[in-house]
Amino acid sequence: MGKIIVIAFNTFKEAVRNKVLYFLLIFAVLLIGFSTVISDLSIAEPERMIKDLGLASIDFFGFLIAVFVGVYLVYNELDRKTIYTIVSKPIDRTQFLLGKFFGLLFTIYVNIAIMTFVLFAVLYFREATQYDVMSKVIWNEDASGKYVQVQATWLYYLTAIGMGIAKSLGTMIGVYVVPLTAGLMKVVLMSALSLAIITAFAIFYSTFSTPTLSAVFTFLTFVIGSLCEDIMRFADKLAETAGGVEALVGPNSIKYWFARAAVLLVPNLAYFDRRMEAIYGAPDITAAMTGPPLLDWQTVVYGLSYTGAILCLACLIFRRRSFK
């Protein structure tokens, strides 16, 4: 375990030196910050815009970091021949790979934490700087009925920033819960879990292919994983049109079984998507359905087991890999 932690820590140090990571992080943070400007263009539900854009940014940029950093982790070790110095030491290849995985995952989670913090801070800052909220604090009606400024505007903004930071941290550790950000931490945590699967896939592909191919494979896994439901319905529709699975023949039969296999083998990333639930609240969206595909605890078990399975597969391949 100690060896895995050491490798993970080194992987983290290596990853944070990667400029791609910073570009992605800065872009994501700017996008989340800019969401407050975009939300002002909407005539209704401006907070929803910020939440949607923020949560999607956290998820998607987390995915990009997993792909662009993940696919190079093993490749760089091989390319620079540094793998020889590691495998010549009493470190198992499995430990090496797991260390790499956890190091990258930790990097991604630190990034997610930063993005989440910015999202919450933006939401709280925006709430505090709404005209009606601000004017009540800055202006006061005196005895003659005139409005006098009782606080400097810059001081109010400074306080709002400070409060936004404090509230954001409070929300992240679960001590400050308000309707504005209710349910958002759950969305982020579920996204983090789905990114563990994506990271495992990125590492898995990189154990036997080049970085470019690994990136393509990981991206396709993400696409199929995101469209699982549609692929499932496509397969169902094929069978229904033919009059049952038994009636399927020729290319349609191949399409059907390929779709079924894809849906069965590729992770269904939609299970981890709790954005709609957070924005609208569970009663609004679940009452119309028979129930969510998986309950929260089932989703966690699913995510962990899937990640574990892919890592096992990656380790199995990596153990047999020749470094020549």
Binding site: L41, S42, I43, A44, L53, D284
Partner: protein
Amino acid sequence: MKRFLSGLMLWMAFFATFGVSVYYQNIGSKRVLKNAPFFDTWQLGGRSGEMMKLFALRYDMLAADFLWLRSIQSFGGRGMSNRDWRPIYNQFQTITDLDPYFKDAYIFGNLVIGDEGGYKEPGLELLEKGTFNVHTQYRIPFEAMYVAHWQMKKDQLARWYGTIASKRLDAPEWITRMVAYIDVSEGEYYIGFDRFVGNLLEGVEAEEPALQNIALNKAADTINKWNAATFARAADEFTSRTGRLPRSVNELADMPAMQNYETADMGKLLASVLKYSDAFNKRGIGEDLLANFVPPDARVFAAPIVDVQGRDDASLPAMQDVVFQDSLTTVSGLPTSPTGKPYMINLARIGQKEKHKPEDIFAPQGQLENDAREMLAELRSHVARRKQELDRNPESLKEVFYTDFNTTEPLGGQWQYDPATGVVKMSSRPSF
């Protein structure tokens, strides 16, 4: 020097080739615009929700947000003037396919297409989609009710949406009153009256005089409309038998439509409500409110009370069915109005039945007098305006209206005009 020249040549080559390509691109663009597209996609984010849903890769809500912002900008820029409604309709369909719970997209979509564009049907289609997608909130079916009733004049449809809205978890209590109003305007007096009885009982249960006042007035209005509809049927029968219009409601009392017909009775309603409010130890209806209507019917007080204490749902609103049944009455002859004043025929309108609703022709005396006062005030203002133009009193009403003014007064008789004083008076109510 050689480097400078080669650089210069490269720049020249760039501008030459780029210039040619931009030139041809411009020619091509003009040709594109000349051809009508199969589908007007210039302002769409996607051809359909299905396609966009695939491309959105689970970021459906984000895609919906951007299309939403785009639709706002698009509408804000041009409005709906000189615009085909279909692209923007498709855009809202796409937005709501991507995010079926986007309440404001349905409402704004209808505003753009239905209210602003004048295409009520597609606007209502969006609202109908929202009614079933956003299934816990009243707002969208309420908007649909508004469109169907006030804009499309389809009251049956409006009642349907209204009923859905009133059953939603967040529906305010006034929704039921609005639905009842539509029920009554659609001639569904039983349903409308029943709902107002429910409102009244809620007002008594909550001991809220304001709510009681609204419900009582609405119930009274419903009874008047109900009775007016019966009078209208009787008036048709009278005209077909005698070949002339009725001059007073008394002439209608023997018509078949006015034999053994069912209506609601305000006195019975008040008595029943008071009886059961007493059983539930509630304050009942205030004396000031009761004074506006006929006295409570003593027969209802005398009737045995339905046992309320043994019921699981024992509460005043739960007695709605009992109070409703108590309030119904079978009448032969002229009905009693809620205020106790006799019904009268507006003789100025009886000859124009196609123009006026039955309740504007057959109304209780007080209401009819108010109508007459309004008409008199209107006449006097016309005379005053003409007097200002002529700088003297008009010689006759013909000089005011440019035609022989022989309209009958609402309460019978002919309008009297005195050229010496310039005053118009009613022969039937000289004191007005």
